[in-house]
């Protein structure tokens, strides 16, 4: 897999673009490259950030060992990692995320059922049946963008975003799921809620889900939800 373009992102980062549309196989390959980069990164590389269709390398512009031409050096490093991971696959961690899909938490379950022509129980079954993958953690601390949604569940964003979506809500839009780490405004359709803390700055790692993780959503009862809180 070769990047479409490698270009500067400001004067302290570069972006390697691999795909302009969402492609789960491309994302999986770039997670492997990101892992290799993180392993080999010289001290002046600060962050390796895999995203949906590419990855960013952020440098420390003040670092004493920063090369004269950091973009060139980072590009070379990236190409080396691409070669090394040409056939590789990242395993990613396997993470089970318990979700209570009760109507109390699944605010938009009824609407999604109506839109897809499935009944609510079938929507839940399909959401929990597939293996999902964390494509990117971003926007907010610990907020995972998760691919692998059953195509029958692909619904567009809601016309009117909710002003408050509770923390832990699992929502879907288009081909993805998201888990909200904090109470925020959001336009995705909410199917349920996890009792787990999606982001906890006092925990190591602070984020429940990491880029590249394989995720299964496990339906739980209201009672179990309370027990796990």
């Amino acid at each position: 897999m070769n990047p479409l373009r490698i270009e500067p992102l400001g004067d302290a980062a570069l972006y390697a673009e691999f795909s302009r549309s969402l492609d789960l196989r491309v994302n999986e390959a770039l997670q492997a490259v990101a892992a290799a980069l993180r392993e080999r990164a010289p001290v002046w590389v600060r962050d390796v950030v895999p995203s949906l269709g590419g990855l960013a390398l952020h440098f420390d512009p003040e670092h004493a060992e920063l090369p004269e031409a950091p973009l060139r050096a980072a590009t070379d490093l990236l190409l080396e990692c691409l070669k090394a991971t040409a056939r590789g696959r990242t395993a990613g961690r396997e993470v089970e995320v318990p979700v209570c899909y009760d109507a109390e938490f699944g605010l938009d379950l009824g609407e999604v059922a109506a839109q897809t022509g499935l009944d609510a129980a079938e929507v839940v079954r399909r959401h929990a049946a597939t293996e999902h993958r964390v494509l990117m953690v971003g926007f907010a601390p610990g907020q995972p963008y998760i691919g692998g949604l059953d195509p029958r569940l692909a619904v567009p964003r809601r016309a009117t975003p909710r002003t408050r979506v509770p923390a832990g809500s699992i929502a879907i839009a288009n081909a993805q799921s998201v888990v909200y780490p904090f109470e925020i405004a959001g336009g995705w359709s909410v199917l349920g809620r996890t009792p787990l803390r999606v982001f906890d700055p006092r925990r190591e790692p602070p984020s429940l889900l990491l880029p590249g993780d394989r995720v299964r959503f496990a339906p739980i009862s209201r009672q179990r939800f309370e027990a796990l809180r």
Binding site: E7, P8, L9, G10, D11, A12, A13, Y15, E17, S19, R20, S21, L22, A34, R46, D47, V48, V49, P50, S51, L52, G53, G54, L55, A56, H58, D60, P61, E62, L71, M136, V137, G138, F139, A140, P141, G142, Q143, Y145, P181, F182, F199, P201, R202, P205, P206, S207, L210, P211
Partner: protein, 334 residues
Amino acid sequence: MSLRVLRPGMLTTVQDRGRHRMQHLGIVPGGAMDPVAFELANALVGNLQGEAALEFTLLGPQLAFEETVLIALCGAEFDATLDGQRLPLDRPVLVQSGTRLAAGRARRGSRAYLAVAGGIAVEPVLGSRSTYLPAKFGGWQGRALRADDRLPLAPDCAVLSGARAGPLQLPGGGAVRSVPWSAPSLTLPEREFAVIHALEGRHFSGFDADAQRAFFDATWHVAPASDRMGFRLLGPALARASDDEILSEPTCLGTVQVPADGAPIALMADHQTTGGYPKIAEIAGADVSRLAQLAPGAALRFVRCTLAEAHALRRAARQRVESARRGIASKYQS
């Protein structure tokens, strides 16, 4: 050993150099909006490790010192007083226990850093003492200061302050003891409009010709709805040539993104780590500190620069800071 908050000011937070190496978890570095003024404030009180300081915004706080401590207020020009006497800016000041600092308004610039010998001793979270307001963690209880907060100072701050003040030969007595020299102001904005260097962004060519011209020709104004996450810029609406969807991708400090309404947003210290809006420009790192000093309503213009020029600007900016630091260090050694 603490610092008491009498009035919090408009937005006073604990900040340091920020938390790094966690952007893949959605955690932005954050930290001081004007890292140059922050570093100089620390240097002025003899702090060398990026110790946490207070960031004042536009209207400063009123604070009571419960120890005799060495402080420095650096960055925007605040009308600050110590027990009613004018507080000299950009220099070390030994403040007697029981003294009250009233920071007033920023006359020029918008943010200043109050450094204290030994630093503000809040617990680090994820390796930093910076307050991250959007997710409410770090700094003092993850929030801006309020009246009656008591901020912990380093346990040895009084001893440190005395030892560091020694070689400075602070003349006179009374509440305000300072020196006749000051650190240079490296980041205060120009009087008429600020000139900010910017590289063409990844999606620059996706904007229509008028937008491409307007971005570098127009005079922009910092909108009132600007904060530590981003500065909204008021000026001509920037239209894209097509409305193709863009996949959400990583953003940087200084990325200028343009949402559908056409009004650009310059991403600042607490920006989100990824975003799906097209990027018209990336502000040269050397100019981020000066941009951060612009108050709502302030004018700025963007000047196009190349990557090589941006790197050269960074080196020049770094040299100015290093030279100021050496000057300060030499006072501590005399």
